[in-house]
């Protein structure tokens, strides 16, 4: 016969306590998110309208909308993606599929990890020195986007490499055994099977790119310009910098307008993420294993 001893009961009690504590901690993680989104919706919700989204600011930022900032952020994100995604994927392909494990490869890996740890303000100053001054792009969308691209490159590389390595080795061997070259194997087998993981990296990059302020402050974002950008050499307003400006610099800005800007910025990132996640789920459906 088995009867619970005192020791058993104590262990069981401890276990319940531990579970409750850890559960509480997990819930505590969600609270700030709910508070932030809730506050933004309550305080900024009334500001949101078609006019808010599709007209430029008026009356010294105290009225009107956010169109130039919204369009500017889309420009910055798209140009940054065009620069960093091909570069990041190519680098990850080389590191994962071709590179031998030697000192050079290990140094490159170390450099990528370090690049991910560099504070964004340092990237910003690097962007000023390299793109604005040395390459003479001036303060422009191009300079700002390239700065953002360099900042987010490690995210793309790491995510791509992880998903390439998640493709079973047997797939590659089967393909190579059919007489395919390494490149044919990558193109026909490895990439199609890892594209959903690569997209995850891109999703993370989009969120970070849209939200950063420091790297674009000196390289291409502007507090105010009355017109939409026409080329990558124009300066532009951006959502994150617009939020900073209306919250701290401009006078007499109604509170709901500032909260509205924050709400749209968060909404924009969530929307971009949702589109990419939907795309990713669809692609995963095509997967063969």
């Amino acid at each position: 016969m088995f009867a619970a001893t005192r020791l058993n009961r104590r262990s069981y009690r401890n276990q319940s306590v531990a579970r409750a504590v850890f559960c509480l901690m997990t819930v505590a993680l969600v609270i700030p998110v709910l508070l932030i989104v809730g506050t933004l919706v309550v305080k900024g919700g009334p500001a949101i309208s078609w006019e808010f989204l599709f007209t430029p600011p008026r009356d010294n930022m105290t009225a009107g909308g956010i169109l130039p900032a919204l369009v500017g952020t889309v420009w910055l994100v798209v140009v940054a993606l065009l620069a960093s995604v091909p570069l990041g994927i190519a680098a990850a392909l080389y590191l994962s599929e071709y590179a031998p494990d030697n000192l050079l490869t290990r140094t490159i890996n170390l450099a990528i990890i370090n690049l991910a740890g560099v504070p964004s303000i340092v990237h910003a100053l690097f962007g000023v020195g390299a793109f604005v001054l040395f390459f003479r792009f001036g303060a422009s969308i191009l300079a700002a986007s390239l700065t953002l691209a360099i900042m987010t490159l490690p995210v793309v590389i790491v995510a791509t490499r992880e998903s390439l390595q998640a493709v079973p080795q047997a797939f590659r061997e089967a393909c190579l055994n059919m007489g395919a070259t390494r490149w044919q194997t990558i193109r026909k087998v490895v990439l199609p099977n890892s594209v959903s993981g690569i997209l995850t990296g891109v999703i993370l990059e989009v969120s970070r790119t849209a939200g950063e302020t420091a790297p674009i402050m000196f390289t291409g974002a502007t507090a105010f310009v009355a017109f939409l950008p026409e080329s990558v050499f124009d300066q532009t307003m951006a959502m994150s910098y617009h939020l900073y400006y209306t919250a701290t610099q401009a006078t007499d800005v109604p509170e709901e307008l500032t909260f509205g800007v924050a709400l749209v910025l968060i909404g924009m990132v969530l929307l971009m993420n949702a589109v990419s996640i939907g795309f990713r789920v669809y692609l995963r459906g095509l997967k063969k294993w």
Binding site: N60, F224, F227
Partner: protein, 294 residues
Amino acid sequence: MKQIAQRIIPFIALTVAACGGGGDGSQRAVIQNRGSDTLLNVAQAWAEAYAAVNAKVAVAVTGGGSGTGISAMINGTVDIANSSRKMRESEIELARENGVEPVEFVVGYDALAVYVHEDNPIESLTLAQLKGIYGEGGTITQWAELGVSVPGCHSDEIVLVSRQNNSGTYVYFKETVLGDDAEYKLGSRDMHGSKDVVDLVENTPCAIGYSGLAYATEHVRMPCVTVEEGGNCVEPSVATAVSGSYPIARPLFMYTAGRPQGAVKSYMDWILSTDGQCVILERGYAPYTETECA
């Protein structure tokens, strides 16, 4: 993989097209304008109003502080730098070495008003009294010493409200009121913004503070300021800042890279015209010259 590419490429193309769709091929001039945070709100108002005057010119305004604007001028990355202080000789030299000749324009004045609580009956202050209140070694610490008693201020002690030490306002007040070598008295509350100074004074009967006239509210009083004992007491106002009779008013500068030409010249001319000066007046700063506005 090809299938995937076929799906991705139209998506990217669509996004780019959606954003670039606005361009009608017209050549638009862009003026880069960067610098002083004091001038930022005015510069923004100018850029906004100028869009209606000339739709072919886009003025991009960025803040960051006078120093940011000046170093951008030295590096040749801006057309117009905003500054609430004069460029130093050494900075002009640096710019010249890079082939940029900064040309100075005074575009307006910023009167620094002395603020007290609305219940404070004090009518006037001399510069010497201000120095005694704010300066290191100054002996004035009680309102009674200035000949007033402030209702609601039971301790009678003067609460000093000042600015953080990298503020242009802090530097200007120090140079003008305390003198070049003098320091501020310790124990002041140093606020991070012109608006914060006025907010604190509004709620503190014992307080005295200094800040731009543009930040005045209905719940504070601004005593007039006398240069010398027995002299004329001058109210802080746009008019007295323009005429130069108010002693603590500073010029606001814009620097252009070389003699302005083309779009920059038209813009500077417009800023210094009646239309442009009425915009700065509306924002609570003083025009550089007497201006009649509707």
